[in-house]
């Protein structure tokens, strides 16, 4: 089985870099980085990754706007998304899980934990 491609959209470039390093180190993934929403959307369309890690709090276009666009586009509609947030407020959590039926992870998160979450989502959506 080939490596799963993961797209991470987060304005924290350092965080993206470290997640890429870790996931590619401990998991069978290729990770592509986008540091803003617009760039992320474009990459999602072209790359069609297996899974998108999407930060909520971003300048210009926040995670929910990105998610909306992803879900609106037939090309990206099927890609599972795990929302990442440092905000930790219940409203975001509810919006993510209930509105778009997507997973939700709070930063800080350990690499192993992130990997198992990704694996879990991928296995579930593969069915």
């Amino acid at each position: 089985m080939s490596k799963k491609s993961i797209l991470i959209i987060d304005d924290e470039a350092d965080f993206c870099k470290l997640v890429k390093l870790n996931l590619e180190l401990i998991g069978d993934f290729t990770v592509t980085i986008a540091t803003d929403g617009k760039h992320g959307l474009a990459l999602a369309k072209t790359l069609k990754p297996h899974l998108i890690l999407l930060d909520i709090m971003m300048p210009h276009m926040d995670g929910f706007q990105v998610l909306e666009k992803l879900k609106a586009d037939e090309a990206t509609m099927q890609i599972p998304v795990i929302m990442l947030t440092a905000k930790g407020d219940d409203a975001s959590k509810v919006k993510a899980s209930e509105l778009y039926n997507e997973e939700y992870i709070t930063k800080p998160i350990e690499a192993l934990e992130l990997r198992s979450k990704i694996t879990e989502v991928l296995e579930r959506t593969a069915k």
Partner: protein, 720 residues
């Protein structure tokens, strides 16, 4: 009873007594007269008997003496008529006898003679059997027969020889002599008896009305019964004696009687007239005067010296005094009405009590301010009867102390119960009422109803308290809001770097295959610090997030059990003896289960941390009626619980280090912690209190340094 009636009654009574006395006197007089009458009658009777005996003596002598005589015996056998004519015929006038008959033993008439010239008297009118009977019983006989010439007294005897004077030998013949009771004889007897003698056919005396009536008129009637040969009554001889003595006696008695009656009647009439003049009439006039109030009725008596004069003068004086009194009373009533009007129009309750505090006067204001009618107050209630429960004794003590000192008092504030049960506030002022000797009779005073003012004061106070509390809450809310915003902002800003750090650490952990020296330890420290920072962020978020709760009836025992399970992994858990005492039949509590678990976990962890080297933790759950009025339990709008309300209690008691007094004031402040940098964020108790506050619950902390801490939570029971 009117005096006139009494007098009339007295008169009738006297008359009655007099009538009875008169009746007795009459009877006595009658019996006296009767006795005299009977005595006289007996005397006359004796005399009459003696007279008859005397008058009958010659006849008896003839019959007795001529019959024990040898010559007579010889005559029976010889029948010598010559002897008979010489001896018998001559004897007739001597013995005043009218007829003689001599019979032999066979009752054959031997000789008969009479001077009446009546042929029917030739022989006695007896049959043979009657003759046989005549001497069968006695040898001497005395009886009467009716003849054609009139009533004849007969004496008979058997004939015997001279020697046989006792007539013991058998009779030789029979000798009978008779004497007529003719008019001459009767009138002679009448003259001798000074009466009137009559012969009457025989009647039973009692049935003879003539005789009876005669005896009633002072006439003495004596009656003798004359019998025939066979002892049968033949005639009655009746002697009427007109007794002058008796008549005089009777008349004098009657005269005396009438005189006495007349005198007494006159005396009574006089007495009645005088009583009427002297007593009844003045009394009547006095009573008319008193009835009508018109003293002209007794004006004629004014100048009399006697008692009625005194009375009439007294009445006149009394009337003039009465008029003055009426005038005075009218004026006083006017004054009283004026006062009453003013008193009732007043806003204040004007009253007077006696020395025991019993109301003896009250204006009508009391009806308005206490709800009682005047007749429910006056003479029935004491001033302390309106006191609110529990304050009566205090009020009595204070008030009677003032009573004892006879002091005035002003604006004495007191709480009272209105008849409808509401509490009313009065300000009371009063002055003592004293008698001439200075003894306390009671108090007079005024109560002003200040309930509205008091209510306004209380409302103001409540409003102020509420304001203060709201202000406190606002400040708290503002604080929370600030903390929330801060937390939210900080969370994002801090968690991103934390995310980077942890990812970096993870990378290094994986990348540095050989864990040299301190590297592993340093990485572990980095990870631990990141977790701690995250925990603080979470606490901050919890703190700011405690905004809404979902209340459900829950089993507190279950919540306690869950909380204990969740802290099982605490490092101190195993050193601590945990005692759970939850009342088995405890009703459900109204809580947000998760929030309540959060509270209990916070408290349990605090307790564990206060017992680092072990100890005992007791967790209790029970329900009870709240009694102690403390912060949050009371009747103010801001109090979560009412006194006597049933509530759930959860107590967590540890044997840990305790909390000092200075710390106690700050334990609920956010970010206050005694646990140092490695402990919590200092938000646990603050969050817990906020959660309980949202549950309308309460939390109290009692602690003694070195001994332990007891935390009491009071929760609402799910309604009934």
């Amino acid at each position: 009873m009117k005096i006139q009636t009494k007098l009339a009654f007295l008169t009738v009574l006297c008359l009655g007594i007099f009538a009875i006395a008169f009746f007795f006197y009459m009877n006595l007089e009658k019996s006296r007269l009767s006795t005299i009458f009977h005595e006289t009658k007996n005397e006359k009777n004796t005399v009459f008997d003696k007279l008859l005996t005397l008058k009958g003596a010659p006849l008896e002598m003839l019959a007795n003496d001529y019959t024990y005589w040898d010559e007579m015996v010889d005559f029976i056998s010889t029948r010598d008529l010559k002897w008979a004519q010489v001896n018998i015929d001559f004897a007739l006038p001597t013995f005043q006898v009218n007829a003689v008959w001599i019979y032999d033993t066979n009752f054959t008439l031997l000789y008969s003679i009479n001077d009446v010239k009546e042929s029917s008297l030739k022989e006695l009118p007896f049959t043979k059997e009657e003759f046989d009977k005549l001497f069968a019983q006695s040898r001497l006989r005395h009886f009467f027969i009716n003849t054609a010439a009139g009533l004849m007294e007969i004496r008979g005897a058997t004939i015997h020889p001279t020697a046989d004077s006792k007539r013991e030998t058998p009779p030789r013949g029979y000798f009978l002599a008779g004497r007529l009771w003719n008019k001459e004889f009767l009138s002679e007897l009448s003259n001798l008896m000074d009466g009137r003698l009559t012969l009457l056919p025989f009647f039973e005396e009692k049935t003879n009305p003539t005789l009876k009536n005669l005896s009633e008129k002072g006439i003495i009637n004596l009656s003798k019964i004359l019998t025939d040969f066979d002892h049968r009554p033949l005639m009655a001889v009746n002697m009427s004696i007109d007794s002058e003595t008796m008549r005089v006696l009777k008349r004098s008695s009657t005269v005396t009687l009438f005189t006495v009656v007349f005198l007494i009647a006159a005396a009574f009439s006089l007495l009645i007239a005088l009583l009427n003049r002297w007593v009844s009439l003045p009394l009547h006039l006095i009573s008319r005067t008193l009835e009508t109030g018109n003293i002209s009725h007794i004006s004629s008596m004014q100048n009399e010296e006697a008692e009625f004069g005194d009375i009439s003068r007294l009445i006149q004086r009394a009337f003039s005094q009465k008029e003055a009194l009426i005038k005075e009373i009218a004026e006083r009533k006017k004054a009283e009405a004026r006062f009453q009007h003013v008193a009732d129009a007043a806003e204040e309750w004007i009253w007077e009590v006696d020395k025991d505090g019993l109301y003896i006067y009250s204006n009508t204001v009391v009806e308005r301010i206490l709800g009682y009618k005047l007749d429910e107050i006056i003479g029935k209630k004491h001033f302390y009867d309106f006191s609110i429960p529990g304050h009566e004794e205090k009020l009595k003590k204070e008030a009677f102390a003032i009573f004892a000192a006879k002091k005035d008092f002003k604006n004495f504030l007191n709480e009272n119960r209105h008849k409808n049960g509401s509490i009313v506030y009065f300000e009371t002022s009063g002055s003592p009422v004293l008698d001439k000797q200075g003894n306390l009779l009671g108090y007079r005073g005024v109560d002003t109803d200040i309930t509205e003012r008091k209510k306004a004061e209380v409302e103001l106070k409540n409003a102020y308290e509420k304001l203060k509390e709201t202000q406190g809450q606002l400040i708290q809310a503002e604080k929370l809001n600030a903390v929330g915003q801060l937390a939210s902002g900080v969370a994002h800003e801090v968690r991103n770097p934390l995310g980077i750090i942890i990812q970096g650490v993870n990378y290094l952990e994986t990348k540095i295959a050989v864990k040299e020296g301190d590297v592993a330890e340093v990485l572990a420290m980095l990870k631990e610090s990141v977790k701690r920072a995250d925990k603080i962020i979470n606490s901050l978020l919890d703190f700011s997030r405690a905004t809404s709760i979902g209340l459900q009836p829950e089993d507190i025992s279950l919540i306690i059990e869950n909380s204990l399970n969740l802290v099982k992994n605490h490092p101190a858990f195993n050193n601590i003896e945990i005692i759970k005492q939850v009342s088995p039949d405890m009703p459900k509590v109204l809580v947000d289960k998760n929030k309540m678990e959060q509270v209990l976990i916070n408290l349990l962890i605090n307790a564990f941390q206060s017992m680092p080297s072990g100890g005992r933790l007791t967790i209790r759950g029970y329900d009870k009626k709240l009694e102690i009025v403390r912060s949050g339990i009371g009747n103010r709008a801001t109090d979560n619980f009412r006194p006597q309300e049933r509530a759930a209690i959860v107590e967590i008691e540890d044997t840990g280090s305790g909390i000092s007094q200075e710390q106690m004031d700050k334990i609920f402040d956010p970010f206050f912690t005694t646990k140092g940098p490695r402990g919590g964020a200092g938000l646990g108790l603050s969050v817990s209190r906020n959660i309980l506050h949202m549950h309308k619950g309460l939390i109290f902390v009692e602690s003694q340094v070195g001994k332990g801490t007891k935390i009491t939570i009071i929760l609402k029971l799910s309604g009934r």
